[in-house]
């Protein structure tokens, strides 16, 4: 179902109707030349892949953005307070708002980092909040909070720069907010928490799906792009090796690898992409890691259920943005509901990400449903279930020049420094298959730009 056309969308369409859409090819050629790729690993093979892009943007009014901005800020504040608390005094557990065993049973909770202070008490420096607009009730619903290493910001940012050049008509005629300052904001956020030294973006390397983004953000923000091999720890301080055999102290690292890979001494000993003993420097307060270690507990799909309660608990406010109706198999009553209504629910494995481990009960065979039921009974902490949300489709321009509706979500990015900045843009991801609800880039989904409009005067 497509959202009823707003005057803004109509204004966009009226410009679209006056231009030659074949110029989209020019835009795609630009993308190709600039190698704006989101790579995939399929069957253990590295596939350099162009990130499918659709020219028709998601258009967000100023009023709608203001609402989302307020709601996301509230959510990020609460989640940051939760992380400070959970790695601190754990008041939220002591007060019975979240069951302790629910937190402690999660692999994402890292007790060895309890009482580790972080620079400026910020843990959620960069976040990507996934939302959809529900066609029932016409409201925005948060599907996921991504507080570890959310990717995607560079794609709409790069495309915006190209689109302005190829289709200036839109930007001349519509009051579209500028988004170019994101890298400078990122730089400022790194400077804000920096413990003394240079800023670094730590990448897993060339074969990471988002290497383009790492490279792009480093160039634009002035940070040094480094792999684990380029860094070392000496006396609890992190240094970058330089080519003349010298070393440069590092004060902040925007790390684009998971906790598990970050330090082979502390976590996975097989990790070849981490920095040995970096966690020692982190514990000593000598390096700011963006995002902080252990954030996975806050974006665990099970903890998501408690975010509205966190907002009430820490901020004494009612949540502005709604969660999808969610059931926790961990709770007996919810578990029974899930088992009895498996056909109508979406089941999510809390350990998975990127659209993996998401199962629509309606699409399972009888045997598959029974197997899933057994798994839920055996490991209830591992599963959540949600009502299927009939979120709006967005129109996409096909190669034939016709419009085709596709399911689309919106990832909105925030940067937390002296205040929380919500980027007036976002990665709108759409399903390549008209019948699919899975929009994730790692599963072959495409993307659109998100145009937030300026306040009308």
């Amino acid at each position: 179902m497509i959202e009823s056309h707003s005057p803004l969308y109509d204004a966009f369409k009226s410009v679209l109707n006056t231009i030659d859409t074949q110029r989209v090819q020019e835009l795609l050629a630009y993308m190709n030349t600039e190698a704006i790729n989101f790579n995939l690993f399929k069957n253990n093979a590295f596939i350099e892949r162009k990130f499918p892009f659709d020219i028709i943007p998601r258009i967000v009014s100023h009023q709608e953005f203001t609402y989302l901005e307020k709601g996301i800020k509230q959510r990020i504040y609460a989640l940051n307070l939760f992380l400070e608390d959970i790695y601190g005094d754990q008041k939220i557990l002591k007060d019975g708002i979240i069951p302790s065993e629910f937190v402690f049973a999660s692999k994402a909770y890292l007790p060895s980092f309890a009482h580790t202070k972080v620079s400026k008490n910020i843990r959620v420096h960069i976040s990507g909040i996934d939302l959809v607009k529900n066609s029932v009730g016409d409201g925005w619903v948060v599907l996921e909070d991504n507080l570890r290493v959310p990717s995607g910001v560079s794609y709409p940012l790069s495309l915006r720069i190209l689109t302005r050049k190829v289709f200036p008509e839109f930007f001349e005629k519509l009051p579209i907010q500028s988004v170019h300052d994101y890298p400078k904001r990122l730089e400022a956020a790194m400077d804000y928490v920096n413990t003394g030294g240079i800023n670094v973006i730590l990448t897993p390397g060339r074969y990471n799906s988002a290497f383009y983004e790492h490279s792009y953000l480093a160039k634009q923000s002035g940070a040094v792009l480094a792999t684990g091999e380029d860094l070392f720890v000496e006396k609890d301080k992190v240094y970058l090796k330089t080519y003349l055999g010298k070393k440069a102290r590092v004060g902040a690292i925007y790390r684009r690898l998971d906790d598990d890979a970050l330090d082979p001494v502390e976590f996975n000993a097989d990790s070849l992409i981490g920095v040995p003993n970096i966690t020692q420097a982190y514990r000593a307060g000598n390096i700011a890691l963006m995002n902080s270690i252990g954030n996975g507990i806050a974006d665990d799909k099970g903890i998501y259920y408690f975010v509205p309660a966190m907002i009430r608990y820490y901020m004494n406010e009612e949540p502005i943005l709604q969660n999808a109706p969610t059931y926790l198999a961990f709770f007996e009553k919810d578990r029974q509901h899930i088992l009895q209504n498996l056909r109508t629910l979406v089941i999510k494995d809390v350990a998975e990400a990127g659209g993996y481990g998401v199962v629509f009960g309606s699409k399972l065979s009888k045997n598959e449903r029974e197997a899933l039921k057994d798994a839920i009974i055996k490991e209830p902490r591992r599963f959540i279930a949600q009502e299927v949300i009939e979120f709006y489709d967005i129109e996409c321009l096909t190669n034939e020049g016709t419009l085709s509706p596709r399911k689309a979500d919106l990832r909105m990015f925030s940067i937390f420094s002296d205040d929380i900045f919500i980027w007036p843009c976002g990665l709108t991801r759409y399903a390549m298959d008209p019948s699919s609800y899975i929009v994730n880039s790692s599963q072959g989904g495409g993307f659109k730009d998100t145009w937030v409009l300026k306040e009308s005067k």
Binding site: E34, A35, I198, S215, K241, T242, Y243, L244, G245, A248
Partner: protein, 220 residues
């Protein structure tokens, strides 16, 4: 202040080498193609033998196909792909246009690989593209620390090829002064590089150890 890690420095150096190799190979392939047509059919075979490569072709077009796309590790396509891989790794240090040009050249080759014939006119355009890439380097990175690392790769590759392919230690010796100027930009006060004009193997070893001698691995 831009800081460059040893890994990045190495990638910049190899990018320079592979861009230069692409230029040298293109010129060589064009010249050999011309000879094969009606002057000396075996000329390409003999020259590639010097590189330790057994090259068989039944026609001038077959030679083009093999040398541009098919030979393992030495085809022009492989050389350009490797230059591009190093450009991807060092992208955050390169001018946008320089990166785009290298990538565009690779994409052009990727598309042409599917064509049945290799056009010599098309091959000539590679030289123009490579000139433009060097031009981007000179225009945009003239004062940057990255530039001497790329230029070092360029000169080392040229010297290496002069000796390896054309037995011309003299040509390599003529480049020594330039090499020392670049090396001095990378590591001021470095020990001067000297080439003996008679010992080919020693000269090659000296040239190919320059980068390692200038770039120190950090001992933590």
């Amino acid at each position: 202040m831009i800081l460059i890690s040893p890994q990045t420095a190495e990638s910049l150096f190899w990018m320079g080498r592979y861009i230069q190799r692409a230029e040298s190979m293109t010129r060589l392939i064009i010249a050999l193609f011309d000879k094969i047509i009606d002057e000396n059919f075996n000329e390409a075979k003999e020259l590639y033998e010097k590189l330790g490569i057994a090259l068989h072709y039944a026609s001038s077009q077959a030679f083009l196909r093999k040398s541009v796309f098919e030979l393992d590790f030495i085809s022009l396509y492989y050389v350009i792909n490797t230059a591009r891989e190093n450009a991807i790794l060092t992208r955050s240090h390169l001018p946008n246009r320089m990166f785009s040009r290298i990538n565009a050249l690779y994409l052009k080759y990727q598309a042409a690989k599917e064509e049945p014939n290799v056009s010599i006119y098309w091959l000539e355009s590679t030289l123009q593209e490579l000139d433009a890439i060097w031009g981007n380097l000179e225009l945009s990175l003239v004062e940057a620390k990255e530039a001497p690392l790329i230029e070092l790769g360029k000169v080392v590759e040229r010297m290496d090829l002069s000796i390896r392919l054309f037995d011309s230690i003299e040509a390599a010796v003529m480049d020594t002064e330039k090499l020392n100027v670049i090396a001095d930009k990378i590591r001021p006060g470095h020990k001067k590089i000297l080439l003996s004009s008679s010992q080919k193997a020693k000269a090659l070893a000296t040239i190919n150890s320059v980068f390692g001698a200038l770039i120190t691995s950090h001992e933590s």
